[in-house]
Each structure stands twice: as C-alpha cells, then as structure tokens.
C-alpha cells in the first residue's frame, strides 16, 4: 500500500466534509431545537480527515464493510474525544433527543460524503483523469449542499417566522422551534389576524381575479396573433416574428409615469380594471412569441387537410391548432399567471383603496413598524403558496414551454 496523491486528496476531502457537515447540521440543530451552541468545527475537521485517511488507506477492492464501519466509528470517536464528550459543544443532557439525532446525522453525513467521493479510487498513483473525478465529486457534493441551503433557508425562515411571536424572535433569532402545545389557534394567530383584520381574503380574491382575467385576455389576443405570424404570409411577417419580443424589453418604469398621468385623468388609476388593461398589454408580446414558436413546429399539412375538407380558418384554429398546442397554451397561461400574480410596480403605483388591493400591494402595506414581523412573513406566505402550488402542479409544462421558444436542437 502506497500513500500518494489519492490519499492526500482524500485527507483534504475528509477535512472539508467534516467542517461543512458540522456547520450545516449544528445550525439546523439550533434552528430546530432552539438550543444555542458554538459548534466544534475544528474537531469535526480532524474527524473527517481521519476517516478520509482510513477509507483511502485500503485499495477500493479491500474496503470491506469492516473498514467502512471503522471509518464511521473513527469519526464518532475523534469527535467525541476532541470535544471531551460534547460532540456538538453542548453537554449531552441538554435537549438529548435532538442532540442524538444531530450527532448521528453529522457522523453519517460525513461518512457517506467521503465514501461517495473516494468510491472506486485508489490511494496512490491516480492519473489526472481520476484526480479530476475526485475534484468534481467534491465540488458537486458541496454544490448540492450549498444550493439547497441557499435556496431553502429564506423560505424556511419565511414560514417559521410567520408562526412565531415577535418577543421570542427578538429574544433568540435562531430559535425556530415550534411550541405545538399552544394549539393551532395560537400557532396560526398571524394568519387568522391577516384574514380577519387585514382584509387578506379580499386581497386574495382580487389577485385571483386580476391574474385569471390577465391570462384569459392574453390568450385571447395572442393566439390569433401568433397564428397569423406563424402561418399566414403577409409583408412584415419575418420582421414581426423577430421583433415582437423587443416590446418585452421596454422597462415598466418608463411606462409607469405616463400611464399614471393618463389613468389618473381618465379615472382608471385606482381600479382593478386599470391593472387588467396594463398586465395583458405587457404579457401579450411574450405570449405571442412563445406561441408562434410552438405553432411553427406543428405540421402545416394537418391544417391544410382541414382547409381542404371545408373548415374555415377559424374552424382550423379551433379544431386543429389549439387542441394540438394544449401544452404550449398551458405553459403560456402558467407563465402569464405567474407574472400577473407577482407583479408589484403597477399594483403599488395604481392602487390606493384597500378594498381593491392585490396581494402584492397588501403585503407592502404590512411593511411598517406598527405591524409585527410575523404578520409580514405570514402575508408573504399567503402570497407565495398559491403561485407555488400551481407552479409545482404544472411544472412540466412551464419548463418545456419556457425553453421551447428559443432553444432549438
């Protein structure tokens, strides 16, 4: 057995995973249990290093279950010894159930990460190819951990803050443990108050009306437009099919002053109708662009056959084109719904009257020092959940539709 590049790489990999998992698990432990600790990152680094050494000391074929168990035991042992029996920096008597789970997680995750990184690789004489494989495995693993945390942490904080009280949050901002004993009435107090005192029921209905009407109007306008651009020959067709997206590049902030001025004068400003005029206008170009890309991909022969058999153009669109392009219609509808639901600028500028606030506008009105923070976060959750649920339901359509327009081959 020689100790070469692979072995030293494995030591480094073990050390990195030891530090990373100790930080990640102990923060999670603090957030979930409410206990406070300073995690022994150094000890975990050493423990990982030792485990990396043990696994790599044997050639891939000789890493028997015994060797693997020895590595796991080594992580646990080194961690326990270096921290004098306090593997998370806390006496074991404090929140023991959480601690046991957390320690098991730390040891298990460090062990499996190192194992997956060095799997099938020998300790010495690795060529560049194998060293790069090792490096890529480490980067991918770190990438997964990092991306998942960075994406999930804000949403976790959002949901948990909405279920806490202002006092407990100020006392310990790390404590997201839930007091389930207080009963659902107290747990969901913020939500109940939003719907009873802050008119969030109305906002929800307003947002739904505006978004659904926007989707409907956008499809009504963009389907014939996209059909004309993709199927009919007329001067300017090529120019239109390429330049329609340019409209989508016009910044909303440039439009907001004139629209504000004009809508104020004609009485459309403080109305939902005003929003239902502006939103479709901004989404039609992009919907038209996405749809014409899809229509172009449908075989024209089907439509020609329909025309030969005596269908009118309208009949062809209704009976042939639209049924064939249901996935594209769904994705466009979903995308437009998302834009309308999430829109902030125009809702913020146009709506003054609390009865016609949309959710975006309503949540902004919660952002004041008089409203507790958990109400703001509860409002954010109320605004997020419908669009996320709809999105996850139809995710497949959205992904294929969003990428269909411009990505070819």
């Amino acid at each position: 057995m020689r100790f070469g590049n692979g072995f030293f790489a494995s030591l480094a990999i073990g050390a990195i995973w030891g530090a990373v998992w100790m930080i990640v698990v102990s923060i999670t432990f603090m957030l979930v249990s409410g206990a406070i600790t300073t995690p022994p990152v150094g000890a975990a680094t050493l423990a990982g290093l030792v485990a990396g050494g043990i696994l790599m000391a044997f050639p891939p074929g000789a890493r028997t279950p015994g060797v693997r168990i020895a590595a796991a035991v080594a992580i646990f042992g080194v961690l326990g010894l270096l921290t004098l029996g306090q593997p998370l920096g806390l006496p074991l008597s404090a929140v023991p159930a959480y601690q046991i789970v957390a320690i098991a997680l730390v040891v298990g995750l460090i062990w499996i990460s190192i194992h997956l990184c060095v799997k099938g690789l020998a300790g010495a004489g690795l060529p560049r190819y194998q060293m790069e494989v090792l490096f890529i495995r480490l980067m991918k693993g770190l990438g997964f951990v990092l991306f998942t945390i960075v994406v999930a942490l804000p949403f976790y904080v959002m949901v948990m803050t909405s279920l806490k009280s202002q006092q407990s949050l100020l006392a310990n901002p790390l404590d997201f443990s839930l007091d389930l004993a207080q009963g659902p009435q107290a747990l969901f107090r913020s939500y109940i108050e939003l719907f009873t005192q802050f008119h969030f029921g109305t906002f929800l209905v307003n947002s739904a009306i505006v978004s659904v009407v926007t989707v409907f109007l956008t499809l009504l306008f963009s389907v014939p437009g996209a059909y004309a651009v993709s199927r009919l020959r007329f001067p300017g067709q090529a120019f239109l099919s390429r330049s329609i997206l340019l409209i989508y590049m016009v910044p909303a902030i440039v439009l907001v002053i004139p629209l504000y001025a004009v809508f104020s004068q004609i009485g459309l400003r403080n109305t939902l109708t005003g929003l239902m005029v502006v939103y479709p206008a901004t989404t039609i170009p992009v919907a038209l662009y996405m749809l014409q890309g899809y229509f172009r991909g449908l075989p024209a022969e089907l439509e020609e056959a329909g025309l030969m058999d005596g269908l009118t153009r309208f009949g062809v669109i209704m009976k042939i084109t639209l049924p064939l392009s249901l996935p594209a219609l769904a994705s466009v509808a979903l995308y437009v719904f998302m834009i309308a639901w999430n829109e902030f600028l125009f809702a913020f500028m146009f709506l003054d009257n609390i009865d016609i606030f949309t959710l975006s506008r309503g949540v902004v009105s919660l952002n004041s020092s008089e409203v507790p923070r958990q109400h703001l976060m509860a409002g954010a959750v109320v605004a997020t959940v419908p669009v996320l649920v709809i999105f996850l339901w139809f995710e497949r359509f959205l992904v294929s539709g969003l990428t269909a327009g411009s990505v070819k081959g």
Partner: protein, 427 residues
C-alpha cells in the same frame, strides 16, 4: 399560338385575402400594444420636456359648497342658499368659470347675486376668469311657498354642476429643458449611473454563473432530481415582495437569523447591516478598498432570484448536446474538466450569449427588487429607482420622466451594441 404560360405577377386575390386576414388577427394586439406600451413610451418623452409636478395631474377646478342659511318652517319664511366657491389650485387660473344648480321646487328666489340668474328653477352663476387661490361666497335669497313646506327638499340634494377651462399642463405647449439640466447637473447622477452598471453587470454575471453551476449539478440522473429541480425554481416563481421582505428579515442586523448564525460561529464580531451599510474599508496587500456592502447584497439577491431562469435554459441546452461527442472525447482520453471546457462550454456559448443579453436588459430594467430591499438607500440607488424617487417621492413628474428617458436611451444603445456584435444564428 405564341402565348406561353407566365408566372403570375404582383399580389393575387388569394394572397391579398390571406394578408387581410393576418392583419385582422394582429389588429387587437397592435391596438393594445400601441395604447399601453408604445403610446406611453412617446408620452414619457413628451412629459420629460414639461415642467409638471405630481399635483398638476389634477387640473384646477372650481369647488362649490352649498348650504342653507336660515330656517324654512312655514310658508313665507325667508332664508338664503349660500355657495362657497374656491379655486382648487393656489397657482393656476381657470377661464370661463361657472356653475349651474337646480333649486328645490317651491322656493321663490328673492334677491340675487349680480353674477347669477335663474330660469325654470335652474340657477346659473358665472364668474368669468378666476385667479389661483380665488375664494368667494354667493348668496341667493329664497322664500318658501306652501308647496315647499309640504315637501321640503334639502337644496344640497342637487349638486352644482361646475364648468370652466383650466390649462392642463400635460396638453399645453409649454416646454422646458429644466428637467434634463436638473438631473445632469446633480452630483448624484453619475454615481447612480455607475451603480446601475455595477448592479446590471454583476447581477447578470452572478445569475449566469450560478445557473451554469446548478445545471451541471442536475445534468445527471439520480433519485430526487425532479424534487431538487422544483426547489431550485422557487426563488424565481415566488412573488418578489415575499422573497424581498424575507431577505430583509433574514439579514436584519438586530434580529436577523443570518447575523445570529455568523455571530454564533464567530465569523464576525458585530452584526453586519447588510442593507443599511454603504461600505466598509478592506485592507488587502496594503491597499485599502471601500467594499460596498449594501450594493453587494442587492446584487447577491438579484443573482439568487434569477439564477433559476438561466439554470432552466442551460439545463435544457445541455441535455440536447449529443452524447457521441463525450464518448469520442472519452476514448481520446479527455478528462472531465477538459470535456467541460472543450465540449460543453462551446456548445453552451450560444445560449449563454442569449441569456446574457436578455438578463442584462431585464436586470437593467429592474425596479422592484432594490426598491423593496433598500429603497435606494446606502448607495444602491439605480436609475430605475431614481425614476420613482424623482417622480413620486420628490413629486417632480417631469424630472422622473427625464430619468426614464435616460434609462430608455442607455437601454437602446446597449441593445444596438448587442445586436451588432451578437452571433447571427442564435436567438
């Protein structure tokens, strides 16, 4: 026969019909886009040359308040209907002002203000041209008849109908360059422009790099991949208000979770005010830099929120790269990083260029994110936030529109530059 078949010239009736149909189908789209996008775009140029304040949007009008003075208890009682009239604007004159009002049945008009006349129970008053800040009272003496006592109607039930022509500043032909001189001469403007560029360039680059990384992660098949892909799209799908306020709460210097974590880990000695601190000095190799904290944080937010979009497009493109190339490279002994550098990256160049262009423009246009995170404070004010500040916080619509013109012109020059130098076959 000398006739030979010649191909038809010009536009045939069939083609013309198709053309008409196409235009008819596109007409509604044209109409709404012109009304809501192109029209306002031009109107914005118009407003930027006008000395118009937010308050000028409500044109000056005559305001008339009516009340009955005296008691009408029995037939023959006398009382007066008093109109208090004023100009709603302190500064702007109104021309040819007057009002008409219907008097309740059964009231006989006694002494009349000389500016008013009555015919068929309709009172008409005319004031001619009035100045800004104009205030006056008009008294109409009335005598009750039996009919009124039997069926008394409060005179206030009929609202006076106002007439008058006020100058609408938006439609007048008064122009000024003051808006532009004001914004270009302020010291802040060049700083704002620079911040906009930093935000756009680094925000775009960050979103692209993160997207590329995330796409690499999910370009292999493993259990839970669909779940992770859904999760990675969350920041893009969630409403901007929700995620922006969550970041504000998460990064709060006093009660924010992130600062507590950093303190607990011993990474920092005192909490960092991520959105409130303009810059911190950082010494590196003997040189001291001013590191912009708030600007970096909003750029990080931008990259976080929009990496899912580039991730989706890059992943879709990656999955369409033929595996033959990788197999050939494998046989030739190319290492994984070489395969990425010499095969994946060149194949992805097209989509990366398109994404860069689109995201660059959209990031430059972005308003909501910075507005919600910092409100443009602590050195994060971009041009788009400045439009809002000038137009609605300072209430100078004209100056706001002037900044919007700058936004549009910068955008236009970038677009032209991009389209001039971008590869022709992509898009």
């Amino acid at each position: 026969m000398t006739d030979t078949a010649t191909p038809p010239k010009g536009v045939g009736p069939l083609a013309r019909r198709e053309m008409r149909l196409a235009y008819a189908m596109l007409l509604p789209t044209f109409a709404i886009v012109i009304a809501i996008v192109l029209g306002p775009l031009l109107a914005n140029f118009w407003i930027s040359f006008k000395p118009v304040q937010l308050g000028d949007l409500r044109p000056a009008v005559l305001v008339a308040n009516e009340r009955l003075r005296g008691d009408l208890a029995a037939a023959g009682d006398r009382a007066a209907i008093e109109y208090r009239v004023r100009n709603s604007s302190r500064d702007n004159a109104i021309g040819d002002v007057g009002f008409t009002d219907t008097l309740p049945a059964g009231l006989v008009v006694g002494a009349l203000d000389e500016r008013c006349s009555v015919s068929d129970e309709v009172l008409t008053c005319a004031f001619g041209d009035i100045e800004g800040g104009f205030r006056d009272r008009v008294r109409i003496e009335v005598i009750a008849e039996a009919a009124y006592i039997a069926d008394p109607v409060n005179p206030r039930d009929s609202k006076p109908i106002i007439s008058g022509d006020a100058d609408n500043i938006l439609t007048s032909t008064e122009f000024t360059l003051e808006n532009f001189t004001r914004i270009f001469s302020s010291d802040e403007f060049w700083h704002i422009l620079r911040v906009s560029m930093y935000y756009t360039i680094f925000g775009t680059a960050g979103a692209l790099v993160l997207g590329l990384f995330a796409a690499q992660l999910l370009n292999t098949v493993f259990p839970g991949r669909g779940l992770l892909r859904g999760l990675f799209l969350f920041p893009y799908v969630a409403p901007v208000i929700a995620v922006a306020f969550t970041w504000v709460v998460l990064l709060d210097p006093f009660s924010g979770t992130l600062n507590s974590i950093l303190l607990q880990m011993g990474a920092v000695d005192e909490p960092i005010s991520f959105f409130g601190q303009r810059s911190v000095p950082i010494s590196f190799l003997g040189l001291t830099f001013e590191f912009p904290v708030a600007l970096t944080t909003v750029i990080a937010f931008e990259a976080w929120r929009y990496f899912p979009l580039s991730f989706l497009f890059i992943l879709a493109r990656m999955q369409s790269i033929s595996t033959d190339m990788y197999e050939a490279a494998e046989i030739d002994g190319a290492t994984p990083l070489q395969q990425f550098w010499y095969i994946s990256l060149p194949q992805l160049m097209g989509i990366l260029a398109v994404l860069f262009l689109l995201r660059f423009i959209w990031t430059f246009n972005k308003f909501d994110d910075i507005f919600l995170l910092t409100g443009g404070a602590a050195g994060t004010r971009t041009l788009t936030v400045d439009v809002y500040e000038q137009a609605f916080a300072v209430s100078n619509l004209g100056a706001g529109a002037a900044v919007a013109v700058v936004v549009f012109i910068v955008l236009l020059s970038f677009s032209l530059l991009f389209f001039r130098f971008s590869p022709k076959d992509e898009g």
